[in-house]
Point group: C2
Chain length 383, copies 2
């Protein structure tokens, strides 16, 4: 298969590119290094080595003999993206090319403006580039479980049948997200669904939970291939942040009451899910939505787990709740369903104690590089 | 009250500006003449005289002694808009500043790109300009009944309580629009609702049906004050197009089976509704959504009504169904609720035979200026 991976330099994009190239697919990555620029601007650089995309592709080739194509360019620029699609003629486009930080999207007018325009225009351009140059192509879009928010009813898989005054119809499941970043993903879904039903595109929208981990079969070959591992308040997801705090002897910063509950998954499962979506494409005119997580935890449960495993390894791990910088429910019901990916064959790689201790051991190698200033929240949701 | 009317040159913006100035409010209009540019580009100029906004404000002042302020500038440019809000310090902002044509939004990549970016960024900029410079200001946003599409359940007023597996929660009513233009209004609603609940803005979102008519108390003083009356396929709403076809002896072009059913309202009722929303603002943190229409008609019913009244006046009116250029249901249930504006005091100006004959007589004065080429659809929804 010819696979175009947009956002191929990212925490998910790069390991996907290696995994798919290792499986024998013809892979082209595209990225404009936006995340690297923002990391530099906000002092949120990754913990692990991060050669640029071209250098990583060279290292990967020297180790495996497999090629990953690299194109440095902006997906929010139609000329650049449409030329890539026209030249490469992908069978599948995987769309990771979005500004991915919720706190960054809430910092200022400028960061919100960038997030809105970058994310919406990347999605919009992909729709038109595929329509124009590769109409058979399957678009796999990374959405987020955060689109749904924390409703008082069960979270279904993308769609819901509503019975109202004795009549029924099926709709997109109602979405109500907790940051501007997450809201741009809601807008992406609305936009994709409009063009899918109007022009017959084939799209999979993966509602992914927060991802954790830094190990994949290919990343384990050479530390320079480890996906950009962030533990800061801008790009660090909660599990990666807790693991790094545990290693550095910084108390785990639980936001507020810590009852915030979400569905999580291991980085290696992201690769499996995207692969399953790719090899089982939906029909034309279908927006297939899959909820992509394997286990549900509250923030307190995650903190306790990291503390217990860390202490068992001899680390001095403490938990310290802090004022919640976000506006979100800290205690709530969370019942989310996820069967589609299991039906396609996903066998989850769960967060066992061994998985947690393995991640802690890996991060211990970089202990001296951890900057304690990076882990405290700098962005508040209040105006 | 200090009222900033964005899109003040438009079919609705200009009569609103006159009406509010006549009522003694301090009115500033802002417009970048985007609709005029598109009308020129697509050969869709208005039928009636259309002096520019500054000239109209001068005419209005000479007739009434009342001032309408004019600022020519782009609401999608934050520097321009935020300066206007900072300088004028409005109590109310009325947001009509969007590319309003569904067919134009479906013409090409470029027209879709312009519609998406203009409409979203205008809304986004208004949110931030109000937060920064006038946090008490009430934002009145013109949405569209078209956001809801044509679902198989009753259309409620903006929100719906969903009962699902024995539990309940309240959500935005599901939205599923029929063009990219209408979809940008869905995205606007999502964006407004995020910032309302996060930062405590006060917003009224008016889900308006198609508007008809060319008469208001102020427009009737001088033909140069008539709102831009369009009968073309780009900007002409269906009633205005049928009226003009009836006058010109062109068969009324019903799209497809003609069972498409929507809620309509008279131009004068738009002014009353916006005024009622303004004088009864919602609390901070509330997104008040009101369905703004007064009568429900199918396209066939509208055509029959115009035909009957026109023939009675001695016009030779025929109806000729044509292939539907749009992708939409041509026969469907439509049960939409609208009580909020009635509760605020709206007394509708209904589409009686006298109202229809009055509009026909008015348009007859411009019969020689009607260009039959302009009424046929040039844009198809198919790719």
């Amino acid at each position: 298969m010819r696979v175009l991976i947009l956002g191929g330099d990212g925490y998910l994009g790069w390991p996907t590119a290696m995994d798919f190239a290792a499986k024998g697919h013809d892979v082209l990555t595209m990225d404009n290094y936006l995340r690297r620029s923002i990391a530099l601007e906000t002092g949120s650089e990754a913990l692990t080595p991060n050669p640029n995309l071209t250098a990583r592709a060279d290292i990967f080739k020297s180790l495996t003999g497999k090629s990953v194509g690299v194109l440095i360019g902006d997906c929010a620029d139609y000329r650049t993206l449409s030329k890539a699609v026209a030249d490469f003629k992908p069978d599948t486009v995987i769309h990771y090319a979005e500004q991915p930080s919720a706190p960054y999207s809430m910092m200022s007018f400028d960061t919100a403006h960038l997030t809105l325009n970058n994310n919406l225009n990347a999605t919009f351009n992909i729709i038109f580039a595929v329509l124009e140059h590769a109409p058979e192509c399957h678009i796999i879009k990374l959405g987020t479980m955060g689109e749904y928010g924390t409703p008082n009813i069960d979270i279904e898989e993308g769609w819901i049948e509503i019975e109202h005054k004795g009549r029924k119809d099926k709709f997109l499941y109602p979405r109500q997200a907790g940051s501007l970043y997450h809201t741009t993903k809601v807008l992406d879904t609305d936009l994709l669904w409009f063009y899918v039903r109007t022009y017959g595109l084939r799209v999979t929208d993966l509602m992914q939970g927060p991802v954790y981990g830094l190990s994949t079969a290919e990343a384990d070959m050479d530390e320079r291939l480890i996906p950009n591992f962030h533990y800061d308040d801008i790009f660090g997801t909660v599990v990666n942040r807790f693991l790094t705090q545990a290693v550095a002897g910084i108390p785990l910063t639980v936001y507020g009451k810590g009852g915030q509950t979400r569905g999580y998954l291991n980085l290696t499962d992201t690769l499996k899910c995207v692969n399953l979506a790719m090899v089982h494409p939906p029909d034309h005119g279908k927006l297939r939505i899959l909820n992509q997580f394997t286990q549900v935890f509250s923030v307190n449960e995650l903190a306790e787990k990291v503390k217990r495993v860390g202490n068992h390894m001899g680390l001095d791990v403490k938990i310290k709740p802090i004022d919640n910088p976000r506006k979100e429910m800290e205690e709530h019901r969370y019942e989310a369903h996820s069967t589609g990916l299991m039906e396609l064959g996903l066998k989850p790689h769960l967060m066992t104690d061994e998985v947690v201790s393995g991640m802690l051991e890996r991060i211990l190698k970089y202990k001296d590089l951890i900057d304690p200033k990076k882990v405290m929240p700098r962005v508040r949701w209040k105006k």
